[in-house]
Amino acid sequence: MYKDTISNSFKLGKAARIARNCFYDAGYSEIFLPVIDKHSPGLHGGLKTAFNNEYYVIKPDVTSHLLTSMVKDEELKIFYVSEVLNSLPKGRWQIGAEWIGGKSGRGYKIYEQINLIIEILKKLKISDFQIDIGSLKKWEDVISEFDLDSETIYEAIKKRSFSEIKRLDIPEKAKEKLLENLKSRGKSSGDELIDWITNKINAETLTVDFGTIRHFDYYDDVVLEVYTRNHGRAIGGGGEYQYKSEKCFGFALDLEVLSGMAQFDEKGSEEDD
């Protein structure tokens, strides 16, 4: 039992309720994945354990859990409220959504989910938030153009290490392009899809930043990170990934941080519904 579990739970519940309403209004269904599942290479995060000579993972990363649980091809617009563990027995509560399959274009999937993030944060009365959008493809283009070692490059750019990039035994032109990407930040990008999304959303809160790199290796192009000035860590993030031949998009927000920042009215959250 952790300190203040009950009062924290009430706050989490209030924030989750507001977010749930936003998801339902946008046509998303809630899913409930098992707390513990058999270990498989596709599962990320979670707390690994063994029982009766079998390996299991407790509360893994939700996106990877969902993808390894799917048995038929169908369009899924789903959301979840779940605790996620990352090698430690103490987890973090998250809310998140995934849009898998269907006929909508990838731009529209990303556009809708960014709007959902904005709506949830506004309804929680968190005003000081920012969303950065980046593109892993922008990095992949440089890696393939100069035939670079992907692992080494990602190691350097995840740390934003100018020193490591300058030390790499690669053509100067490749270094210039990598450093240029790291320093690229603004309202437009030259990337057709990202510029379409930023123009369509047209919000001060949305910025293109190619230095935005998310850690999960299943992301393959557009990624985003959500943060506020008053909190030293990202409060959420998401990205685009491939499931079979479909482009999918999902995001997660840290419900514990959101519930701490949210301003709830006296009655609860009814007025926000």
Binding site: Q130, D132, K159, R160, S161, F162, S163, E164, K183, R185, T207, D209, G211, E225, Y227, T228, R229, H231, G232, R233, A234
Partner: protein, 202 residues
């Protein structure tokens, strides 16, 4: 305004010298002052091991040793390697024992860096008992609390004076400029300008 956390001690003096080259004067703390402010910076003075913790949790920038960043697995940006604080993290044993790493199964290893130590021995396939100490590592083999230590070696004089020898270098160590992941976005231009200026003199 940039909040900058500096490590107290030797690293701070060298960091001050480096920043002076780009016309940034660090105001040294007087008496027991912990934070000193000027027009552009808020200088925060902390223990070496706490610098990455402050930066990971919201302070904009800092200077820390790569050993500490690795030990704490700090989730921070590390834009620049700085030209001071160079030393190495090594396995050290009593001078009168002829030992190789492969022979250290079940040995007790005292260190300030338990995570790096465990990872190193695990990757070498050696099972050791790691004892966390906060200082005066040399005491551990002398008092038979540990068979060996993993510690920072600079000139090697301290270990020699204590009847110890370095048998294996685990990693090189040096000072790093570190940046909070959110500050890098919210203070993008100020932080990049500072990185560019420092990069220009390295």
């Amino acid at each position: 305004m940039i909040n900058f956390v500096m490590p107290k001690g030797r690293l701070m003096k060298k960091a001050a010298k480096l920043l002076k080259q780009i016309d940034i004067e660090i105001k040294e703390p007087e008496d027991r002052e912990l934070i000193v402010r000027d027009d552009n910076f808020s200088w925060i003075y902390s223990r070496v091991f706490d610098v990455p913790v402050f930066v990971e949790n919201g302070i904009d920038m800092g200077i820390a040793g790569s050993d500490v960043i690795d030990e704490l697995e700090s989730d921070v940006f590390i834009p620049l390697d700085l030209p001071f604080g160079q030393c190495r993290l090594s396995v050290i044993t009593p001078v009168d024992r002829e030992l190789r790493i492969e022979q250290m199964n079940n040995y007790r290893i005292a260190t300030k860096f338990p995570n790096i130590t465990k990872k190193f021995f695990t990757s070498a396939g050696i099972d050791v008992n790691v004892i966390k100490l906060h200082g005066s590592m040399e005491l551990a083999p002398k008092t038979a609390v540990a068979d060996a230590i993993v510690d920072i070696v600079d000139s090697g004089n301290t270990i020699k004076a204590n009847g110890l020898k370095e048998i294996y270098k685990i990693q090189d160590v040096g000072a790093r400029l570190i940046v909070n992941r959110v500050s890098q976005k919210t203070k993008f231009y100020e932080i990049n300008e500072l990185i560019d200026q420092l990069s220009g003199i390295l």
